[in-house]
Amino acid sequence: MRSLLDPTAHLRTLGALASSGDPLFVHGLNWQVWLIVAIKVLVAFSALLVSVMLMIWFERKVISDMQSRIGPNRAGPWGLLQTMADGIKLFFKEDLLPERADSFVFKLAPYLSLIPALLIFTVVPVGGVITVGSHTFELQVADPPIGILFVLAMSSIAVYGVMLAGWSSGSKYPLLGSVRASAQMISYEAALGMTVVTVVLISGSLSTRAIVDSQAAAFWDWNLIRLGFLPFIFFMIAITAELTRPPFDLTEAESELVGGFHTEYSSIRFALFFLAEFMNTITMSAVVVTLFFGGPDGPIPRFIPTAEIWMPVVWFLLKVLVFLFIYVWFRAALPRFRYDQLMDLGWKRLIPMTLGWLMIVAAIVVWHWWGLLVAVGVVAAAVLLNRAFAVGATREEEHAILPPVGQRVWALSASDSGSDVDAERGDEGGPR
């Protein structure tokens, strides 16, 4: 607004938007720059789609191995084309619109799920800096000065897809699934944000490129080690919950909710959700690698002098692969959380712990010995908090109509026994 109305405004070009980061825009915009950007977008987009295809195959294969099955092995070599076949099948299925659905929102929701998943990948650095002709550019689609905030923003937008899908279906199970999902995502976003802040504190920048650069020296400079492992663990937990992947996949718990928020979806719209889910897994693995494992940085960098362009990319892909495997492993090995456990873990454990660690890191950044002092303070606060939780729990028990979820002893039926006691308790209106 100001630049339009204020005649004294300084010259602003779109190039100035990213001038603090991307070297591509240093000399302004011309057709070559446009071309490079377009190529980057196209490459990233298609690579992401292909990798989703492979990821689905990979997941099915690995899980099969872990469960002593063979898994897909018909379409293509080692069943590689199985996903493609499934996709084609889905594409030709009938696209159902439930009668009570809100058709506009119902159709909108899959895209709201997919687009944030795609966009997050744009800020992930997949390689180093290359120079082609007079143009130097980074191997990442975009490098905005607020890169990591962009990731957070997009992951909070992803909630909409899930939420609206469940609501617009006009059906009970999807609604329950979506309410669960959005509550879960919002709950873990706080912990996620605070771990990201620890990374930002030590890197001194919000730009993903700068975060990667600050870890570039050798593997002991990776944030994983610099921040003392814990933030990484917190981040992994939070991100897994954010992705609603096992063991946090309550949102699509088949035994309770049929299929979760996308129960009513079919055909290509269902495929879009599926795509978004796996794409999110991949991009979030890439974000983990960026934040904690030096991104495209190798453990001993540049030991093959001729491979300066490709080696970082290879390192990046290898690291991402490790995390993809870990996610599959989670799914094969871990049982699903109960909903109250999930919320307890998020609010009562993860958020205080991330906050405590954030304070310690901040104090250490300011002055080492302060760190020690704050650490003592954090431990004391943790003890007090635990005490408060314990007290709160006993008070709950005293006043609860029902015992806490974990300790319920279910009578077969209240009406069966027919005793006066039960009748009296029924009068109190507590759900039995």
Binding site: V365, V366, W367, L384, R387, A388, V391, G392, R395
Partner: protein, 570 residues
């Protein structure tokens, strides 16, 4: 400062120079907020629910500590002069000290009144007092803010806590309704206020009050639409908070629906804080624009005075009546503000008179609402004015106390109310606003009518009670018996024997005047005699002591207000 330097020197990127912090300037807030949070934390750490006594005592200690800090500030300001700190975000001057003293005292009194209320209504937990204390912190912030952002934050802290407090007794439907009304309208007015800040920032390039004044002193704003729009929106935000007509719509409903001790707190603290910030912003920052804002204040004062007084006449609920009377009082304070727009000594006198009025009003309002709270009975519902019929016979001390407070509100001589009204009217006359002063006098006369109506009702003999009314009173008598029988279990103040004598003593010492016939022990209960908690008696006693004491010897308080009126000016 030493600590700040340490951080600056050790930080990674060359560092930023932290502003100097004079902790004395924010000590009362730190004590109040820190105490509140500590109380909350302790309550969550002990296994059994905290006793109401423990909570009340700790609240009292915290409030009094805050008050002591404010007095320390007062002596510091007297000896070293006013100053700003925290990069000019906060100012410590006589004005802020007086507001802090007011708020801290109001908090202590509310804790005293709230004790009995919480016991009677069976409200457990420290949240009642904690919310009130945080609200008080917000009020203090508003009093000493030197930045519009701080004013806004203080306003929000004050208001959000009050929204919740208004809804605190969730067994009463009116309480929820009041809170919802207050919240919606309050949120709306806050939005308007922020818009005002934004426009002011756009016009002056800063939110700091000192810098705004500086900017306006050095520059002539030719196209000043933006500035005036900002000013107006700020005024609307404040006018809502202090319940000036036409932004008063929420007041009767909210005052009626809120728990009565909170109504007292709200009427005193929100009004004091709102006016404090209003005066500081308008006089010290926008003093240059006085030609623009004085007429608006003039008009506001006129309608506020008249509407408050006239509508109070037709109320049947004592809390609603007091709500309209508080609107009327707001009009009087606006009178002082209008005078404060004048230049030089006259303006200072306006500020001083407004402060004096706020001080007097705080104690009158809390005292009145304390009595209403006590008389409200279990459920906090018996607030019909007709219930007060014959109170002078049933509970002479309570009736006398109420009469004194109401007369003070009406402006009877030998009370602070009289001096307060005298001062603002005199200030208005000094500022050449004679018509306004006349209107104020008229409204005071109208207001005296509805105050006296209640007083007369209290002392009206029982024979005026119609037969139906008599039957009702009989029934109430029975229920009064029931209350008395339960009083053995509850540590409440019952009206019998030895205890009544104690009340007499208390009242006799606290009231400087006490007529012999009222010291009589009441014979048999004739109406619904309520139990008067001893702490409420103390609170009412203090309010009356202040009202009458400074009414008889007005000099010290006037001196205090005068010292406080010397606003910190850049």
């Amino acid at each position: 400062m030493r600590v700040a330097l340490l951080i600056a020197s050790a930080s990674l990127h060359g560092g930023i120079a932290m502003p100097h912090i004079a902790y004395l300037a924010i000590l009362p807030e730190i004590v109040m907020l820190g105490g509140a949070i500590l109380l909350l934390a302790v309550a969550s750490l002990v296994r059994s629910a905290l006793n109401v006594t423990v909570i009340t005592v700790s609240t009292l200690v915290i409030s009094l500590a805050s008050l002591a800090a404010a007095l320390w500030q007062f002596f510091d300001v007297q000896s070293h002069g006013a100053y700003t700190t925290l990069d000019h975000a906060v100012v410590l001057d006589g004005f802020s000290v007086l507001v802090t003293v007011l708020v801290a005292s109001a908090m202590a009194l509310t804790a005293l009144v709230g004790d009995g209320y919480q016991r009677r209504e069976g409200l457990a937990g420290p949240e009642f007092n904690v919310l009130a204390m945080v609200s008080a912190t917000g009020a203090m912030l508003m009093g000493e803010a030197n930045d519009l952002v701080i004013v806004f934050l203080g306003l929000e802290i004050l208001s959000i806590a009050l929204y919740v407090l208004a809804a605190f007794n969730r067994r009463r439907a009116e309480s929820g309704e009041a809170a919802l009304k207050y919240f919606l309208l309050g949120g709306f007015s806050s939005a308007i206020f922020v818009y005002g800040i934004a426009l002011t920032y756009g016009a002056t390039g800063t939110t700091n009050l000192t810098q705004i004044a500086d900017f306006l002193a050095k520059n002539v704003v030719v196209s000043d639409g933006l500035l005036l729009a900002g000013l107006t929106l700020l005024l609307v935000g404040f006018a809502f908070k202090v319940a000036a007509v036409p932004f008063h719509m929420w007041t009767p409903d909210v005052y009626q629906g809120s728990p009565t001790p909170i109504t007292g707190f709200m009427s005193a603290v929100a009004k004091a804080a709102g006016f404090a910030a209003l005066i500081r912003v308008f006089v010290s920052s926008f003093g240059v624009l006085r030609v623009d804002w004085q007429p608006i204040i003039y008009a506001l004062a006129v309608v506020t005075l008249l509407v408050g007084a006239v509508l109070a006449l037709i109320q049947t609920d004592i809390k609603r009546m007091l709500a309209y009377s508080s609107i009327n009082h707001a009009g009087f304070v606006l009178l002082g503000l209008e005078a404060a727009g004048a230049l030089g000594k006259v303006g200072a006198r306006g500020v001083s008179s407004a402060l004096y009025y706020l001080f007097a009003y705080t104690f009158m309002a809390i005292g009145s609402f304390a009595i209403v709270s006590v008389l409200g009975g279990r459920g906090d519902a018996a607030h019909e004015i007709s219930n007060y019929k014959g109170l002078g016979k049933r509970q002479p001390f309570l009736a006398l106390a109420f009469a004194v407070l109401l007369l003070s509100q009406a402006g009877a001589p030998f009370t602070t109310g009289f001096w307060a009204k005298l001062q603002v009217v005199a200030a208005a006359v000094d500022a050449n606003s004679v018509p306004l002063a006349v209107i104020a006098m008229v409204s005071a006369a109208v207001a005296a009518f509805f105050y006296l109506r209640v007083v007369l009702l209290m002392y009206s003999p029982k024979k005026f009670v119609s037969d139906q009314e008599g039957d009702r009173l009989e029934n109430l008598d029975a229920s009064g018996d029931a209350v008395a029988s339960t009083s053995a279990r509850e540590p409440l103040w019952s009206g019998s024997g030895r205890q009544t004598a104690l009340v007499n003593e208390l009242n006799a010492t606290l009231l400087l005047e006490s007529s012999p016939e009222t010291i009589e022990v009441p014979d048999e209960r004739e109406g619904d005699v309520v139990n008067v908690p001893v702490l409420a008696v103390v609170a009412i006693g203090i309010c009356i002591a202040v009202t009458v004491g400074f009414g008889v010897f007005p000099a010290p308080l006037a001196d205090f207000a005068h010292k406080a009126s010397l606003l910190f000016m850049p």
